[in-house]
Amino acid sequence: MTTTEIAGVAVERDAEGFLVDPAQWTPEIGEEIARESGIPELTPRHWQVVRFMRERYLATGTAPSIRSLGKESGVPIKELYQLFPKGPAKLAAKIGGIPKPRGCI
């Protein structure tokens, strides 16, 4: 776990770069994490997914899986992979300042 400064705020991140405390998150932090993850700009479609992830996590304590995202975020799975290459659920969680989805046990 390391403390780093993102978008002018000192935040704690785990070894894979996920925020430790979701309360430290701001939209500016999200944009900065997106840039370091290879997404230069977050479009409204990106934000739709990131906000859905974050709200769901804050309400239920669990980040939705990719299948839940495809069913309920309003963005189909194929587009999710275009927006967030490789691992949409993982990447959107990181950008949204919530822990890594624990879908895979």
Partner: protein, 415 residues
């Protein structure tokens, strides 16, 4: 007052819990009903052996009802829905069962139709799953007449039952084709959405090493979105393709269909949100869940249901007696991994402890994360224990719900 206990599902978890509770309570203290849609109890660890002719269905299927102790009512019907406000279960045959405690133990359903093309042309001709009896038997026939080409083993997405089973299938396929002197004509590929061979780092590295030793190609981070059975192509959401002549798939899993029809009971995939320590559902205090039906963050595996059973029985009793629930379930899972040629690995882990090398259950015991003949024999012997000790709800001497730590090496040796 007589307690009314209803258990939905007569598989590993449901059978064991019903039997444990029946032993605990006399018939004047509690009525116990078990509901299942059929009367075929499958010993699921045997499914991976079926395609290779190493077992047959007569050996791994028994009547559900016969595994239940006397004094348990068995209802053979699909569940229509659960009304969690009224504390009642409505069955498709029209029966209504009222309960003081409900135990959800209906496991998962396979959803091959959720992956585009998978149940289209080629399904059960060149694309199979061994996750049910019918599929495993059809795959056995296909393997029998297979004389070379590309065999692809794919798990579509987590969660799946027994996350090691597709690996076991790949290892056993290597042995099967070797024994038939066809190995040089078969390209074996293991395709997974995970970023490694398995979910936990140390075991993942070891298992990747085994795949490579056995000349099984590993393709990672491949999230299958579509299957083209006519062209023999597995296609990922980000448009990569893996060609196959024979596809062995582990399809998407979801909770039982009635969970979706029962307002407030399950999540969007049909799993029951459950407290990972007490096994009480988050839906309502008088509903508990066990085994594959829950959403708790451990493997979906028979061993998990087994270890949960002890805690669940205790907590159902505590709930009925108005005492505080036990938080004893630690996520303990224990899996044999068949690696072919009469050998197997063993892994043992919980919420906190990933699988590491060492011995189980103590420093003198079965080797962990290492191929051995002893583990293979352990896996074979377990089938007897399953029917005669585990399902009746007896404890296996020396094996407890809580994960043992004494035989584990926390620092793995270099691979």
């Amino acid at each position: 007052m007589t307690h009314r206990i209803v258990v939905l599902g007569g598989g590993t978890g449901g059978t064991m819990v019903a039997n444990r509770l029946r032993r605990r309570y006399g018939e004047d203290e509690a009525t116990i009903a078990v509901v299942d849609r059929d009367d075929r109890h499958v010993y699921q660890p045997g499914l991976v052996f079926l395609p290779f002719g190493l077992t047959d269905s007569d050996e791994i299927v028994r009547p559900r009802q016969r595994q239940l102790r006397g004094g348990i009512d068995f209802h053979q019907s699909e569940v229509e829905h659960v009304d969690i406000e009224e504390d009642e279960v409505v069955l498709e045959d029209g029966t209504t069962l009222q309960y003081d405690v409900l135990v959800v133990a209906t496991g998962v359903v396979l959803q091959p139709e959720e992956t585009e093309g998978l149940t289209g042309p080629g399904w059960n001709e060149r694309m199979f799953t061994f996750y049910d009896i019918a599929g495993a038997e059809q795959l056995a026939r296909a393997l029998d007449s297979f004389d070379g080409g590309r065999v692809v083993v794919n798990l579509v997405d987590m969660p799946i039952k027994c996350p090691v089973a597709p690996l076991e299938f790949a290892f056993l396929a290597d042995a099967y084709f070797s024994e038939r002197h066809l190995r040089d004509k078969v390209e074996l590929t293991y395709v997974t959405p995970l970023d490694g061979a398995f979910t936990k780092p140390v075991a993942s590295e070891r298992l990747a090493g085994l795949l490579s030793d056995k000349r099984i190609e590993l393709v990672t981070e491949f999230a299958a979105g579509e299957v083209d059975g006519e062209r023999g192509r597995l296609v990922s959401w980000d448009e990569r393709e893996v060609p196959f002549d024979l596809l062995v798939t582990v399809p998407l899993h979801g909770g039982a269909a009635y969970v979706g029809r029962s307002e407030g009971l399950g999540d969007d995939l049909g799993f029951v949100p459950t407290n990972q320590r007490t096994l009480q559902s988050l839906a309502k205090a008088n509903i508990f869940a066990i085994g594959d039906a829950t959403n708790i963050p451990t493997s979906k595996a028979g061993s998990v249901a087994h270890f949960e059973g002890e805690v669940l029985e205790d907590n159902v009793a505590r709930f009925l007696e108005d005492r505080e629930l036990s938080t004893a379930y630690d996520g303990h899972a224990n899996c044999f991994i068949e690696t072919g040629f009469g050998k197997a690995l063993l892994i043992d882990f919980n919420y906190e402890q990933e699988p590491v090398p060492g011995h189980f259950p103590t420093a003198i015991g079965l080797p962990l994360l290492k191929e051995s003949r002893l583990n293979h024999l352990g896996k074979l012997m377990f089938q007897w224990l399953y029917w005669h000790v585990l399902l009746p709800g007896r404890d296996i001497p020396g094996i407890s719900a809580e994960m043992p730590e004494s035989g584990k090496r926390s620092q793995p040796e270099p691979v």
